[in-house]
Symmetry: D2
Amino acid sequence: MSEKRAPLGIGVVGCGYWGPNLIRNFHQLRGSRVVQLADLDEKRLNHMEELYPEVQTTTDYEQLVQNDEIDAVVVATPVDRHAEVGLAALQAGKHVLVEKPMTRTSEEARRLIDEAKKRDRVLMVGHVFEFTESVRKCKSILDDGTLGDLYYINSQRLNLGLFRNDVNVIWDLAPHDFSILLNLLGGKRPRGVRAIGASHINPQVEDVATMTLDFDGGLVAFVQVSWLDPKKVRQTVLVGSKKMLIYNDIEPTEKLWLYDRSVEGPAEYETYAQFPYTYRYGDITVPRIGGAEPLRTEAQHFLDCINSGKTPLTDGHSGLRVVEVLESTDRSLSEGGARIELPA
Amino acid sequence: MSEKRAPLGIGVVGCGYWGPNLIRNFHQLRGSRVVQLADLDEKRLNHMEELYPEVQTTTDYEQLVQNDEIDAVVVATPVDRHAEVGLAALQAGKHVLVEKPMTRTSEEARRLIDEAKKRDRVLMVGHVFEFTESVRKCKSILDDGTLGDLYYINSQRLNLGLFRNDVNVIWDLAPHDFSILLNLLGGKRPRGVRAIGASHINPQVEDVATMTLDFDGGLVAFVQVSWLDPKKVRQTVLVGSKKMLIYNDIEPTEKLWLYDRSVEGPAEYETYAQFPYTYRYGDITVPRIGGAEPLRTEAQHFLDCINSGKTPLTDGHSGLRVVEVLESTDRSLSEGGARIELPA
Amino acid sequence: MSEKRAPLGIGVVGCGYWGPNLIRNFHQLRGSRVVQLADLDEKRLNHMEELYPEVQTTTDYEQLVQNDEIDAVVVATPVDRHAEVGLAALQAGKHVLVEKPMTRTSEEARRLIDEAKKRDRVLMVGHVFEFTESVRKCKSILDDGTLGDLYYINSQRLNLGLFRNDVNVIWDLAPHDFSILLNLLGGKRPRGVRAIGASHINPQVEDVATMTLDFDGGLVAFVQVSWLDPKKVRQTVLVGSKKMLIYNDIEPTEKLWLYDRSVEGPAEYETYAQFPYTYRYGDITVPRIGGAEPLRTEAQHFLDCINSGKTPLTDGHSGLRVVEVLESTDRSLSEGGARIELPA
Amino acid sequence: MSEKRAPLGIGVVGCGYWGPNLIRNFHQLRGSRVVQLADLDEKRLNHMEELYPEVQTTTDYEQLVQNDEIDAVVVATPVDRHAEVGLAALQAGKHVLVEKPMTRTSEEARRLIDEAKKRDRVLMVGHVFEFTESVRKCKSILDDGTLGDLYYINSQRLNLGLFRNDVNVIWDLAPHDFSILLNLLGGKRPRGVRAIGASHINPQVEDVATMTLDFDGGLVAFVQVSWLDPKKVRQTVLVGSKKMLIYNDIEPTEKLWLYDRSVEGPAEYETYAQFPYTYRYGDITVPRIGGAEPLRTEAQHFLDCINSGKTPLTDGHSGLRVVEVLESTDRSLSEGGARIELPA
């Protein structure tokens, strides 16, 4: 990254829950300058003006999108507006970082991808967990074959609160699990998706759900999400033929636990009539994970991609894959948990 | 319990994994005397003879069943033999304690129930978790309305090892979850059962599975079992409208966590368009749980029922209900996770 | 707090480890405005200028102290300069918030107290833990008699790293324990102090130490501090005759554990020859603790005291008491762990 | 161990808290046969007779000591009787396993050592923790230099309950810590011992205490024991120049945590005026520890030593070293925490 380059001008649309974190990071990075913020709520804008007196604000995102000082637009609105705002920004020639989930439909996601391609702009999705050192370390452990063949993945994201009315708990929490999963699997897509949910607080919005994703080669992923659990859980367990890995994101520093454990069955030609299983219980290793703020890494990556022209780690296709899985959960929910095949 | 009564004579069929624990407990209780043990494996019998020199042994369970000194037979064989041995014992006029799961089919379970009724013998199923102080305390918390309306239950029983060839992981581990669940719900049966499993070690035997049980009134129970998880988990979470309860059986003493937490949605006539949810975060209470060995409590309960003629807490009908759910998981597995309705 | 009042002008001397946190908080509070920062290191000042473009900076703290726009000076230098800078600020008519430990000697602390009294300025010490909701809750539990008579207190603050050369581990970490202790005990001072330490990395600076404080009435407090422990520990255990309380500051939310446990000995006239002890094991309660940032509460309290003229919770006398205990540990260390009596 | 050898005859004196565990183990081992039990309390003897109908009992230990069928005597009485009973057994030509602490005074311990030497009998002390796989693994980690130079050891054994009137909390709990420590250090004895205690329940018996042991070469060991702590703690932390090790005996399986962490100070000729410390934070390793019952290992070791004539791991000298440290704590307590030098 050249030191001489002028900082990129950033506009942020949406100053609700997540927007302020993005603003803070782009404000602190040397390669960017936050130029303008948009939100429908003037109170939020006023609060932002107090924190960042030098930044312009507007309640009209179209004005922001046309701002000549702005090189890149960050879309942190509710998901229903992602496509509209993202498209407007791309059409105005801006690079776009859109929060997760990327869009409400895969069709919208494809439209953004096409527009970005046509305009030759960077389109990146804010799958922030893919920028954590924990997920990167998981991926390197997977990629170097440490776990052997993957048997199954068990992911839980449970929480009390942060209810939303615009989306159900799957659309709210599972994008994290899905983006982590698909990242770890190198972009491999599930073949089928099943989802079962239940609504207790708002009868129109599922607040707890369990999902099963099946992949080629027998790999299964179980994903459970809830807004109603007493204890916060954010955990992904990866069970392989050679070793097993727990990624517990609640732990402040000891997030990854690599278990040198496995089970071996009898040789395949045997009858399974006896008990010839071998259990291997070895050491546990807790690798050192650095503490960089992932959102800062994500923001820096966005700037780097703009400057260098390289494809983001979490590009539009990555966002689309997550949206496709989310869409499938909607269909499965409405079909009583039936397995939905993903388009090839 | 009268002190003068002669100790009841006990015969135990099956001296494998669980049998020795039963033998030890009936040996130590004052109200019983272990008279005879049966097993097909003479080595096991020899080992038992060393520990209990005064006890008779046989490789032929029918001989045990006819032993006049024996009042009650404990069936701790593999599940496939439960019905046969239990029936023979009942027909010989013995009381019967049969290990869980009660039988391989609900038809077998019904046959045992009928025979016990006809002979007026005690028939009890070894759902040992129902005799823990933890489950009893859970039940009293539920029964006094502390949790409000139950929203959902989330149960996990994960483990590395103890692979079996005669049954899959559901039949091996989920009887615990099902018996706990049905006990807590006061015998309420699920309306529908869904099960999805996968086999990684032995292609004919599922080693990981996730299940969903739905009940009248919107209650859902998620149950997950695995023989392949790196970390032992035995946990049941009960989420109610007023409070939430975690029963973590791995903790040595602090097993129950009662969370004074809840979420309230907007009044029903509102549009849900806004965010009017109320979260209540209160104290956590960890009730004191005594440390009695549940198997001893179970064994004592069996003796008490024989002496008093009262119906066991875990009688044949309780065993049957668990077997019915297990049967339904088999059907659901074979129908690709379809929802199986239980017979009314 | 009047809304119309102009924000108080704040100057901060020292932009090292802790200073930036203070700056951030006074920047965000509505009742204050950060006017000027002083540090000997220009790089740090440059970094602060980037974050707060509107703030003046200087390498000469005397200039800051004379700045007419400044009402109050925050002293966040190394402890050796606390007295000098604090005194200069008070003499210039400024209110003073000085970091902990207040000064290097009790004589210096008394000089600050006298000067503040003479000038009628607020003098407050940054004992930040006294502003946590956890310590406040502990204090209310103690004050309402829940624990009964206090038997002993066991405090540990263990850590890897943050070695310093200007002070030993006691002066670095134990001010937290001492200020918490003395706060909880309502300002009660220890009668005697013993300290044993050892130096492993820098032979002139103790990096691990254990201390015993004895109070009137038989209460004992054990305090252990280390820069060399593999696992971070920040825990205070309060054992009373009726209940026991653990304050574990490492836990993100469940910081306080109130144990309904106690031991009762035999009546006093008995011979103690037998075993007539009674153990009571009851429930554990984990009270809900809010998550307010204590430094913000502290900063707000400082502003409130300036505006209202009331005496700070952590006033100069509170700072002095902590310094007296620290001085005693120095003497005890140099006398091989001898008990040092505190001046009455 | 020869299979043909007749089992050794074992007599156990003392059937209180710990005795029954020893009886059970010697009963189960093939190399031994429990011949006779002695206790002053007939109720205890009756209970033992129920569990082990083939075993003789007596209220007169001298009768047991003279029993010809007995080869070895296990002394599990209160510590005040250890010397008397042990001596009588040795004089009767029996091998002796005496519980910890070995005796009430070092003089008594020496008398036992002398008698055993004179009679050429095995004298072993029941330092059971030295037979755990955890302590053995700790020792092998220390011995192979993994930790580098040992800086300090921090040991805590905290508990609620099990109050005793015959000994204080140091004599009750610290023998474990001292035997572990001295084992890990290969028999190295401390040079000085300091102890500070307090009595809250029984004014004549300390129920909480903190001790400091100093060794040649700058190593320090802190040991804290309590009968009054709400939460059970059994932990030993070993801090070395290269790595650090936590031995947490409360954890059911993950007892040892090896931290690849260290601090390096500036080179010695520097002035320490700056901050040139280097912190190294690496992985954590949790070695696999097997689950053998240590008391069984201890009992087997006793039998092996009798059969082979080899010196026990925990011989009389090992018991004496622990008693010497205990005696020093008594002196230090009575001298207000003064450092007591151990005899060379």
